[in-house]
């Protein structure tokens, strides 16, 4: 069964003469464990699609079943429930400056009542070790490089073992080496934990990590969308 199943989703911003159609009858699905890159020119609707699938924006037309829950015309509680099972990686790391790396990662675990404080710290430390930051657990974002910060953000997105990771231009603020390192870590950990990744990017240098590439143009999926291999 597909982890993400999108059928006939359309979306428009504004109303009346200011209405701008962004997505037109989009159909696609993502299977469990797949790494899918969503690409396309600016304004093609890929970020809007990602926010709808992440439960961050409400679509009213079509069907978008994510992690078994229908998000189109859903209420906030349903979307919040889905959001808690998704790992998000943004263009910017969005880390809290006063918190250390391990405390930032712990933020993703504080929603889980079943874990003790010690268990949270241990899991956050292990995840940071996985992303190569074992020696930087107690450093604040200010004391880390841009690539290291993004790796902390990746650790934060994956520490709760989400079934789905949504990433938006995760390499946009990184140099080539750091960007490649970050996505390779993301790919390795996703495979290790069986997570599915849906990644929006313009960065052609990282297309090779994808199992499948979907291209959006003018709010519709183009026929060129193919497996990356």
């Amino acid at each position: 069964m597909a982890l993400v199943d999108v059928k006939g989703v359309s979306f428009a911003y504004g109303a009346g003469e200011f209405r701008r159609q962004v997505l037109n009858n989009v159909d696609f699905s993502v299977d469990r464990g797949e790494i899918v890159i969503l690409t396309g020119p600016s304004g093609s609707g890929k970020t809007t699609l990602l926010t709808i699938l992440g439960g961050l924006r409400l679509a009213v037309t079509g069907s978008a079943v994510v992690l078994g829950r229908e998000l189109v015309n859903s209420d906030e509680n349903v979307r919040m429930g889905v959001r808690r099972q998704i790992g998000y990686i943004f263009q910017q790391h969005n880390l809290f400056w006063p918190l250390t790396a391990v405390e930032n990662v712990c933020m993703a675990l504080e929603l889980d009542d079943r874990l003790s404080e010690a268990e949270r710290r241990q899991r956050a430390g292990e995840m940071l070790t996985e992303v190569g930051l074992a020696d930087h657990l107690d450093r604040r974002p200010k004391q880390l490089s841009g690539g290291q910060r993004q790796r902390v953000a990746i650790a934060r997105a994956l520490v709760s073992r989400p079934k789905l990771v949504l990433a938006d231009e995760p390499t946009a603020s990184l140099d080539k080496a750091s960007g490649h390192e970050a996505v390779n870590i993301l790919k390795r950990l996703a495979k290790d934990y069986g997570a599915t990744i849906l990644l929006v990017t313009h960065d052609y240098r990282i297309l090779d990590i994808a199992d499948r590439i979907i291209t959006l143009e003018d709010g519709a999926i183009t026929p060129q969308s193919v497996p990356s291999s």
């Binding site: 926010t51 998000y88 880390l95 809290f96 400056w97 006063p98 918190l99 504080e110 929603l111 938006d168």
Partner: protein, 389 residues
């Protein structure tokens, strides 16, 4: 997430955010401290004003007191006919009546010979009208000609009178008349007078020869034991006519307090100071919290995306506001206690700091910070995780 961890995690994040940027924390704390000190000082002045205003009336002893209706306060009485007070003797419950004379006079410092204004109280010593151990003990001495008792809680500009008396230097001038100070008592300065002197009604007229004996400032009415004070008050009011006021003890004290509260603009001025302090404090705290939320908007949006509720984020902001209230108030209380001591030394009026006042000011400060936090929370609406992509 269950409620306790939600509060705990939100409060912990707020504390870390607040203490991370030290200059910001100092600025915000100073803002709350400033508001706390301003409110404490305004309330301190207001309380001391009221406390000092009633320092004379609370020592007066009678069942009923008679004043002219146009009298606004005891320190500026409108005189009335002694005969009007005597009419009260016609009431079957009235045991005795006594007049009191009150006027501002010039007291000469025995060392510097500089004259300074104080309040002179003259009364019929047979009446035992002032509830003060020292005055009662010296009542017989006061019956002698040209003698008076001096209030040792008066401002120091009148000289070390107590010390001078013990050294035998006890003669000075009050309104240019030689007066022997035969003892001291303690009453306290007021916003109207820097000191007090008590003497007999006869000596009062020697000091103020221009004052007519039959024009009095305050009348004391003593009732027979077991009399109905309320009924007697109503009867006397009818008996004395529309131009007079008849108060019981509590009404007299409240009347004096009410002058400063309402007739004089003091109550309004100090009350306005309290409001201004709170408004300025609220603006400072709001600005700090608003900037803090704005600077962390993307982080808050990320938390929302991760599944944190709007309520959690609101708790973070409110916790910051409460921390600021606690920090600023604690420091403000310490500084205010020191300033109260300083004010007491400088203006010789008591500045009490009872627990009730501390609790009241803390409630003000907590409300001020909570309101600032509630206003800053509106900014959280802009933390839209969809905009992070």
């Amino acid at each position: 997430m269950t409620p306790f961890p939600t509060f705990f995690f939100a409060a912990r994040l707020a504390w870390r955010q607040l203490t991370y940027d030290k200059p910001k924390l100092i600025a915000a704390t100073l803002g709350v401290l400033f508001a706390s000190v301003l409110v404490f000082m305004q309330l301190g002045f207001l309380d001391s004003l009221y406390a000092s205003a009633v320092s004379a009336p609370i020592k007066m002893r009678a069942d009923l007191f008679v004043l002219h209706k146009q009298t606004e306060a005891l320190w500026r009485p409108v005189q009335f006919e002694r005969s009007a007070l005597m009419r009260a003797l016609g009431h079957p419950d009235v045991r005795a009546v006594y007049p009191m004379y009150v006027s501002l006079g010039q007291f000469k410092n025995m060392d510097t010979h500089i004259q300074r204004t104080l309040m002179v109280y003259g009364y019929d010593l047979n009446g035992d009208l002032i509830d003060d151990v020292d005055i009662c003990a010296r009542a017989d001495d006061l019956k002698r000609q040209d003698v008076a008792l001096f209030d040792i809680a008066s401002r120091p500009e009148f000289g070390p009178v107590s010390e001078q008396i013990s050294k035998g230097r006890d003669v000075t001038e009050v309104n240019g008349r030689r007066i022997k100070i035969v003892g001291t008592f303690r009453m306290g300065t007021t916003f109207a007078a820097d000191g007090n002197v008590v003497t007999s009604d006869l000596n009062f007229h020697r000091i103020f020869p221009q004052r007519a004996f039959d024009k009095i400032d305050l009348g004391f009415v003593l009732l027979n034991p077991g009399s109905d004070v309320r009924k007697a008050q109503a009867d006397l009011l009818a008996l004395m006519g529309q131009e007079m006021r008849v108060f019981d003890y509590n009404e007299l004290v409240e009347f004096e307090k009410g002058y400063w509260e309402n007739s004089a603009p003091m109550g309004f001025i100090f009350g306005f100071g309290v409001v201004m302090g709170l408004v300025v404090g609220m603006v400072i705290v709001y600005q700090i919290l608003f900037t803090d939320v704005s600077n962390n908007l993307s982080q808050y949006a990320t938390l929302k995306a991760m599944g944190y509720s709007q309520f959690y984020l609101q708790l973070v902001v409110l916790s910051s506001a409460i921390y600021l209230a606690l920090l600023g108030f604690a420091l403000g209380l310490g500084l205010s206690v020191a300033l109260y001591r300083l004010a007491e030394q400088e203006i010789f009026i008591p500045f009490p700091m009872p627990l009730g006042k501390i609790a009241t000011v803390f409630a003000f400060i907590l409300t001020m910070c909570s309101l600032a936090g509630a206003l800053a929370i509106r900014r959280l609406k802009a933390a839209n995780p969809a905009d992070m992509f």
